[in-house]
């Protein structure tokens, strides 16, 4: 561990300067030697101390997360403390850890205080929404959703509210541009699923038998679970992208809905001959799309708001 002694600018808590100038054994010249030593020590230590720097990336993260007003003053304070007190007292490695800790505290605590309540509510709402979805999935042992009429109320309300964001053909075009990216990702996920089904022989009989047993969880069949999880993440991503790009929460919800419907239509066409298949696929897309997209859209709205607050 590197330990350096740095003469500070007055915190009075630094270590003793290591100076090559010493008083004579009989004490003569001790005052002037001490004065010279102090000057020498202070000068060299100050030169040395300005060579000491906290991790560059941590400082970049800190600068980025602080509002312009505090960027120079706060990073300057931390740098001063780091060079004058922390490195001499604790050594370089521990000083780096100290700096990271302070950065984390500033990013979390100060950022929170700089954010207005609106951004904070959106972020909290988004996290709570995801927590509810995860809780529902855990309680249902990650089984694919069985759509009951009451489960349609919330997505229907979300779609109705989100549709009010469409005012012109330009809005439609904007949504199409966003949704097609996420539809492509959904197609890719579905393709990978088909590909993995070809490589890994999935025992459907075993799966249905396991479903009938108590204690069944979709997690016991990772290839199925991974596909479901990737679909969920993609739809959340669509909601996030839509809300971020358009600066409108409702358009984020619509982007996720559009992506889900765009992937559902080909399946709808394939399953057209089956009695219940087509309608179920469309309803499922209309439920899952906006439900998951809402989580992403809330997070994007919150982060956008936070960014605007912090830019002040």
């Amino acid at each position: 561990m590197v330990r350096r002694t740095v003469a500070g600018e007055g915190n009075g808590m630094n270590g003793v300067n290591q100076s090559p100038l010493q008083p004579l054994p009989d004490g003569r010249g001790s005052e002037s030697a001490q004065a010279s030593a102090d000057l020498y020590g202070a000068a060299t230590a100050r030169e040395r101390s300005t060579d000491l720097n906290p991790p560059r990336w941590a400082e970049a993260v800190l600068r980025d997360s602080l509002p312009a007003r505090d960027r120079e003053t706060v990073t300057g304070d931390l740098l001063e403390e780091y060079r004058e007190f922390i490195v001499p007292q604790r050594g370089l490695l521990s000083a780096h850890l100290w700096y990271l800790w302070q950065t984390a505290s500033l990013v979390v605590l100060k950022r929170r205080s700089d954010m207005k309540i609106g951004a904070w509510l959106w972020l909290t709402g988004g996290i709570a929404w995801i927590a509810v979805i995860v809780a529902v999935l855990v309680l249902s042992r990650f089984t694919p959703p069985h759509l009951q009429p009451r489960a349609l109320v919330l997505p229907a309300a979300l779609i109705a509210v989100a549709l009010t964001a469409i005012r012109s053909a330009a809005d439609m075009l904007q949504l199409w541009r966003i949704a097609r990216i996420w539809t492509a990702l959904l197609v890719l996920a579905a393709g990978l699923r088909v590909f993995s089904d070809l490589l890994i022989i999935f025992d459907v009989e075993q799966y249905f038998l396991a479903q009938a047993r108590s204690g069944f969880s979709e997690l016991q069949f990772p290839e199925r679970f991974a596909f479901g999880a990737s679909i969920a993440l993609i739809l959340m991503g669509a909601g996030f992208h839509g809300a971020w790009k358009t600066a409108a929460f409702r358009k984020g919800v619509l982007a996720a809905l559009a992506a889900a419907l765009l992937i559902a239509f080909p399946l709808f066409a394939i399953q057209w001959t089956k009695p219940d298949g087509p309608a179920q696929i469309l309803v499922l897309a209309a439920v899952i799309g906006p439900t998951l997209g809402t989580a992403g859209a809330m997070l994007a709205t919150g982060l956008r708001g936070a960014q605007a607050d912090l830019r002040m």
């Binding site: 500070g8 600018e9 007055g10 915190n11 009075g12 100050r46 101390s49 300005t50 505090d70 120079e72 003053t73 706060v74 990073t75 300057g76 304070d77 931390l78 740098l79 001063e80 403390e81 060079r83 004058e84 800790w101 302070q102 984390a104 505290s105 500033l106 990013v107 979390v108 605590l109 100060k110 929170r112 205080s113 700089d114």
Partner: protein
Amino acid sequence: MADILGNFEQAVLLSLLQPSTEIGKQGYGRAVLKEVQARLGRSVSAGAVYATLDRLEAKGFISSRTEPGTPVRDNRPRRYYKVERAGVRALHEAKVATERLWSGVRLPAKGMA
């Protein structure tokens, strides 16, 4: 009645009003951090102190000004804080509220509760 100051807000205001350490007397961000640490007798994160300073400034209890920095901080400016009249009043109210809360209370001897 205005908000009663929290303990940490009181510590920050008192650190600015009557600093007990040499560095604390300088009154800039880092000095406040060190003074609060000395006053509370424990390590305090920079985030907590700066967030509190921001909040107190937004409430009008303190004001700040920047001045040029020194080479040890790569010449980055320092922000100096000063307690305003409203801050002193808020501290006084907090003290009165605490005294009122404790008036007439006699705790049992240590270990007897």
